[in-house]
Amino acid sequence: MNFDARKYVLITFIVIIGVIYTLKLFYMQVVDDSWKLRAQQIAEKRREITPPRAVVFDRNGNKIISNKTYYNLMMVEADIENLDTAKFARLIGWTMEEVRQRFIDIREGEGYYTSPITGKTTSNYQRVRAYPFMKELTADEISHIAPHLDDYPGFFEEVSSMRNYPYSNGANILGYLSEATREEIEADNFYRPGSVIGRAGIERFYEKEFRGKKGVHYIVTSALNNTVGSFKDGKYDTAAVQADPIHLGLDVLLQGYGEELLKNKKGCIVAIEPSTGEILALVSSPNYDPNLLVGNRLIKENYPKLVQDENKPLFPRPLASEYPPGSIFKLAQALIGMQEGVITKDTGFPCTKSLVGCHNHPSAQNVTQAVKMSCNPYFYYVTRRIVQQDHFKNDWEDAEWGLNRWAKYMNSFGFGLRLETDITGLRSGRIPNSEYYDRWYGHHRWQFSTIYSIAIGQGEVTLTPLQMANLAAIMANRGWFYTPHFVKSIGEDGPLPQFREKHKTLVDPIHFPPVIEGMRAVVEEAGGTARLARTPGITICGKTGTAQNPHGKDHSIFIAFAPMDQPKIAIAVFIENAGFGGTWAAPIASLMIEKYIKGKISDPAKEERILNAQLSNFQ
């Protein structure tokens, strides 16, 4: 038998194998993309780099928020191999029990999800996700751990930054950062477990402007999860971009001075630059050092204390507390009365004291005197004329029409509406209109005599201190204002467009001078209610207010602007339960004005008196 033909069988066999292998290789390498994805999963890792948040400067270029570098020890459970718990615990200085508990806590911390369809409960925790195992380690702490991390696949260090407040002032303005919640992480792809998010103040309002752009770094990793190098020499990497610096209109030194003056008092100061609407200072007392709420460790320690503090230091009073404005409200009443033509600047009313109480002073012969002496009956008559204009025979109908007209004027001053300042936690105060009183008394069941306390800024009327300061700014500008705001410029872009829009009140500027003359007299002339605010060299125009308060002593209120011509600062000071407005609020305002305009205080005794004051309501 001849076997030579068998060579063809073998040759065919070899060639067929060659062809099959070639086809399979073609399929795997050229046609099928799934192996490329698998290779990426195996060897390439995507690391996100979060830039430090924007730094913040005050109006004079002082850096008021900066960043400190910290480190997180991150953990990806899926990458952990043969963890020697005892050794690892020794490395990070924990007990083994703590390490085990930390794994459980991370898992539990993510919560569970029950599917509405299947009813199955699954953990939100994902083994392939990176979670911070230890947070906020200092450079010194991480330097003991990092060199050994190669022995612990699944753990890696991550640079993070935390806020630092060199001036310790303005906590209620700046807000603070804390870890993003699971809902926030799911709602916005920017956040990962352990990312921080602005919680209050401008940090929250300008979250997107603060956080910057994340960078992505693709790296090649080895089977033991060590970084071997960057993928394709970093061809696809993007750099993290820190957001542009943010410039505030705030004057941090003035802010600090205000906080100093309000020590041991409850109250607030709001100072605005009238020509721009930039907030120069916004003091809420008592307050806290913003450095107390930096990072998880400190937040965990300090936040509960601040929440439980009876003086409520976390509460942003200037924005959120609504107080009766008291006599400062009379400024608006006088202006509206003149605009409506129910009085002229020379209208006089007797100080009758029969309907509303008043202090002893001669009857006001004109608007200027009425403002100077803050005559209650005078403004009772003015407001009655505004509300009851005798357009209707029926007094009730007439009051309804008049009040709504009045409320509209008030709204144009920014009262009863939220002043949309660039911060969270704002409230609107209250300007009652017919709808409001209808709810209380019934339709056509009320008239001016029912609601007369609104005439002197009591009763149903409330304003926030921010609105009071805005009234001062309106007086300074003679009839218009920019919505008060903190951020002067993001990078070089200037303020947000809504803060470049001039709001005019419904009162014509020609009606302002007699009222402003009265405000000048309040401070400058004998018989004015705020003589303590006199400051040599600066003509301050102000108005005191003393708001009755059912819970205790009257609130001491003062608003002012200065100088009288070309005003640089408009201010409102509100001291809770401190009594007459001229006694406490006025001198504090004058100190702030002098500090801002002159940079120094000419009357140390006045300053001393304020600094040493221990007002009774402070716990």
Binding site: F3, I11, Y21, L25, A39, A223, V228
Partner: protein
């Protein structure tokens, strides 16, 4: 009889060129895989690339020695050569195990693997024995002796254990097939027992029916399935090992065959058909079980080695870690590859594919050069194999031909299994890619195998048929 020509003049330069290009590509790939930026010199002897170049040099020197020796010496001293490699295989069993196998002889990194050289000795003795037979006088005895020549080294290698080389030894079966030394008398007797079917005289009968192909086919299927389990959707608790799948398939196949025979054959032949069917089933079943058992027994050390390298890794690739990583590396190469020294999965630095400089060297090559590279490699190997077969067929002496076929089939096995491991066509058994993989023993043994072939071929005209 013509005069002896000059040594170089009668060299088969095509084969030399193919051999040299594969070796150069191998060194280049090792340089890429094991590249250490602190030792950029390719000749740096402390690095794997430097060592590999050294092994290439040593192989060249051995080749030079081979060319000095008259080719007749292999035929004359076939038995002593065979016996000496056998004794090496015995000695190596008393060596301390490395990675779970007693495969290394010598000290440290300078050791050799006798199993690699056993192939040469076996090829020579098999050639010697088969050439001494008169083809017309095939007997049970000659088949047994030929198989004994294979079985002795195979048994010793199994004791090491070294699954890869053990499997490679079955390549000699193809050589025996080429020489008519197979089991076809048995097969033909079985087949011709079926009345009405006379395969004996036909081309198909004598060249395709040989039981060798049944054996190869069944073995490959069994090997591929032996690590899998079969699951049933309706019985989730029932999990069958892959071998039972093979057996069920065989049973069905034989049953259908029997039923067909029953239908066709006259009544008196049915009993014989039943007997044939039972024996066919028993034989193939036993074969499948043997292969499965051998693989399962040998596989553990293979698995252990992988776990040693990686630690117990929890990974979506799970049990088939190596192969999945290898396939990811090969598959991610794309059409033109990631570029030289740009392998991200299979370089030694990332180490996602274990043994990527030795048994899995195809991975980095495929990852870096893409389909363009792998096509070239497959073409080069197929060209090399066909060239060797061509050389084999032009030999006047039967000794030369058998030896040449042995070389061809050994290389074919290495090529098919090594590359097949990466593309899911062969089980993961560690054998090197000839001339390519890092390693002194394989480089030297393949080179000697090649140089003896070249020497025999250059002197083919001196030999009387």
């Amino acid at each position: 009889m013509r005069k002896s020509q000059s040594v170089t003049g009668s060299l088969d330069w095509v084969l030399v060129a193919l051999y040299a290009s594969l070796m150069i590509m191998g060194v280049a790939t090792i340089y890429s895989v094991a590249y250490d930026p602190e030792h950029p010199n390719i000749f740096d002897i402390s690095q794997k690339y430097g060592k590999q170049i050294m092994w290439v040099g040593v192989s060249m020197f051995l080749g030079f020695l081979v060319f000095l020796i008259d080719s007749d010496i292999y035929r004359k001293f076939a038995l002593p050569i065979y016996l000496s490699v056998i004794s090496l295989l015995v000695i190596v069993l008393f060596m301390p195990p490395i990675n779970g196998a007693r495969a290394w002889l010598g000290i440290g990194s300078m050791g050799i693997q006798p199993a690699e050289f056993a192939k040469i000795g076996t090829a020579i003795l098999l050639a010697r024995y088969l050439s001494s037979l008169n083809p017309k006088q095939q007997s049970v005895r000659s088949v047994l002796v030929a198989n004994l020549i294979l079985l002795v080294p195979m048994a010793l290698i199994l004791l090491q254990p070294d699954a890869g080389t053990f499997v490679v030894f079955t390549s000699f079966l193809f050589v025996m097939y080429r020489e008519g030394m197979t089991y076809d008398p048995i097969v033909l007797r079985l087949v011709n027992a079926i009345p009405g079917i006379k395969f004996k005289e036909t081309w198909v009968g004598s060249h395709f029916i040989p039981i060798l192909f049944v054996v190869v086919f069944l073995s490959v299927v069994t090997l591929l399935l032996s690590n899998t389990t079969i699951e049933f959707e309706s019985f989730p608790d029932l999990k069958l090992k892959g071998i039972y799948g093979v057996l069920s398939f065989l049973f069905l196949f034989v049953l259908v065959g029997y039923l067909i025979m029953r239908a066709i054959f006259p009544r008196r032949e049915r009993r014989r058909a039943l007997v044939i069917a039972i024996f066919a089933f028993l034989f193939s079943g036993a074969l499948s079980f043997t292969v499965d058992f051998a693989f399962q027994k040998l596989a553990p050390h293979q698995k252990e080695r992988i776990e040693l390298v990686l630690g117990l890794k929890e990974d979506p690739d799970g049990e088939d870690y190596n192969r999945n990583r290898a396939m990811a590396a090969v598959g991610s190469g794309g059409l033109l590859g990631k570029g030289y020294r740009k392998a991200s999965v299979s370089s030694l630095r990332t180490n996602h594919v274990p043994e990527s400089e030795t048994d899995f060297i195809f991975c980095p090559y495929a990852e870096e050069w893409g389909f363009a590279g792998t096509l070239l490699l497959v073409v080069l190997y197929i060209a090399l194999l066909l060239r060797i077969i061509k050389i084999a067929e032009r030999q006047r002496s039967k000794f030369n031909r058998v030896y040449a076929y042995s070389v061809a089939m050994i290389l074919f096995y290495h090529f098919a299994i090594n590359i097949g491991m990466n593309i899911e066509f062969a089980p993961v058994i560690g054998i090197p890619l000839p001339f390519f993989s890092y390693g002194g023993s394989s480089m030297m043994s393949f080179s000697i195998l090649m140089f003896i072939l070249l020497k025999l071929d250059s002197q083919r005209k001196d030999v009387l048929n």
